[in-house]
């Protein structure tokens, strides 16, 4: 039975979980370190991916494949108690299968996002939100903050951003399962979940306003569910300190 959005992410989550151990570091794929797989300044994503596959992965694309069209390269460091010290997560989403993207030379069919939680990259004043997301390999490109402004569960929030935007059907199916378990089953014929999904798709703000209460409850249900998946947490004091605007 699925715990998260997909079986692929279920498996990744197991690998990125400290399982109660003291401080340490996890890499996915295992044995692939940040210097080897970090995208270089202005390096095109397609060239970067080929470099990672040909080098650290020794030609084995499946080692980084979380989904047939989603590759992940992650390094996570934590201290005792689940305090997140460092996270570098690169996600490549392709519009074709990963091996097609690699072998068939389809450079325009993929895009890369990178999550940085790194105290060593605070940048000029308030330019690098902590954590932040890169959408470009150009160092001059702006960085964006992660969803869930008040949440310290930044790793899961980043992956949820990826699935919510790029594998949306899987995300909706998960949201529906959680909602049904928490509230939807009890509501029966009055369950507005499908109406809310349709209203978003059709940009029907009037309907969403009508169901404001349920939309808020849905977000709370999903927040509680995601917070059960990982014990790793960023420092809320540092999140508050470095957030801008205040």
């Amino acid at each position: 039975m699925l715990r998260t959005w997909t079986e692929g992410f279920d498996a990744l989550l197991v690998q990125l979980t400290p399982h109660g151990g003291p401080g340490g570091e996890i890499c996915f794929p295992s044995g692939v370190t940040v210097p080897e797989m970090k995208i270089a300044e202005a390096e095109p994503p397609h060239a970067w991916f080929r470099r990672c596959v040909d080098g650290p992965l020794a030609g084995q694309i499946e080692r980084c494949a979380v989904e047939p069209n989603l590759a992940v390269f992650a390094t996570v460091r934590w201290a005792q108690g689940g305090s997140l010290d460092y996270a570098n997560v690169q996600v490549l989403k392709t519009q074709v299968a990963l091996d097609e993207y690699y072998y068939d030379d389809r450079p325009d069919e993929g895009f890369l996002l990178r999550l940085d939680w790194d105290y060593g990259t605070l940048g000029p004043m308030f330019t690098h939100p902590l954590p932040h997301v890169h959408y470009s390999s150009f160092d001059a490109a702006p960085r964006f903050g992660v969803d869930g402004l008040l949440s310290d569960n930044i790793l899961i929030d980043f992956f949820e951003f990826v699935y919510r935007h790029l594998l949306h059907d899987d995300w909706v199916a998960w949201a529906k399962r959680v909602w049904h378990r928490e509230r939807g089953a009890a509501l029966g014929d009055a369950d507005p979940f499908d109406a809310i999904v349709s209203a978003f798709r059709e940009s029907n703000i009037a309907i969403l306003r009508q169901h404001e209460h349920h939309v808020r409850m849905l977000k709370q249900c999903l927040r509680r569910e995601k917070d059960r998946w990982s014990e790793l947490r960023a420092s809320t004091a540092d999140l508050e300190l470095l957030r801008y605007p205040g």
Partner: protein
């Protein structure tokens, strides 16, 4: 509105909403006969209060039945795929070429909802693609069907988009519950005829609504008046 449309509004407002045969065939694309009628009756027998519409079809029960069985008529599967009903049948006739091994068709009138996602997943150009919107999805789907299955799809286009002279014309995703015309997401207004919220909303064309907003103001769904009707009001005046 014309007499047929006015009659449909009266039917939709009635409680319970008991549908005559021409409404069931015109809007849902179904004839309550044979295997469909038999399955529906068996399902209904397990539902309390299911005998409200003797001689006609209880609308809420029909939609609940289709939702729980996870089935659509060919007409509505066509709307989901942006194609006419015959094209759905033509594509299903080629399912073994894809291949799609599941039996999707029932009683010559119903199709499993899962056909849509299974078809997309089985067509190589589409399997991992994120689509910009429904029209983008339909264009790519029809192209892929042509290339992989050799079926020339007849597209189902939004009547409102066509009437407004849009270029390109938007693909339909639903049907107008009053005019029965194909309708795109962009030009849909939601109407509330008292169905349970768990059932799909009723939609009508914003152009039709602009012409008849006083007749339908009690059925407007959501809070506040419909947004952006101005464009449709101008178009209606110019017609």
């Amino acid at each position: 509105m014309n007499p047929a449309q006015a009659e449909r509004v009266l039917v939709l407002r009635s409680r319970p909403t008991c549908l005559p045969a021409d409404f069931v065939s015109g809007y849902y694309g179904l004839r309550m006969e044979g295997g469909v009628a038999s399955l529906f009756e068996k399902w209904k027998a397990k539902v309390k209060g299911s005998d409200r519409c003797s001689g006609a079809v209880d609308r809420v029960l029909l939609e609940m039945f289709l939702q729980q069985q996870r089935m659509l008529s060919y007409k509505w599967m066509g709307a989901r795929l942006g194609m006419r009903e015959q094209s759905v049948r033509d594509v299903l006739a080629k399912q073994q070429d894809v291949p799609l091994p599941v039996n999707y068709e029932y009683f010559g009138q119903l199709v499993l909802e899962s056909f849509k996602d299974d078809l997309v997943g089985a067509l190589k150009p589409l399997r991992f693609r994120t689509f910009a919107n429904h029209s983008d999805f339909c264009r790519r789907l029809h192209q892929a069907i042509g290339e992989e299955l050799g079926v020339k799809v007849q597209p189902l286009m939004c009547a409102t988009s066509d009437a407004l002279g849009e270029d390109p014309v938007a693909y339909a995703h639903d049907f107008d519950c009053i005019t029965f015309e194909p309708l795109s997401i962009k030009h849909s207004a939601w109407l509330n005829f008292g169905k349970p919220i768990s059932l799909p909303p009723d939609r009508c064309s914003k152009l039709f609504l602009a012409k008849h907003v006083e007749d339908l103001r009690f059925e407007l769904a959501g809070m506040g008046s419909p947004d952006s009707l101005e464009r449709y009001e101008h178009a209606a005046q110019g017609a």
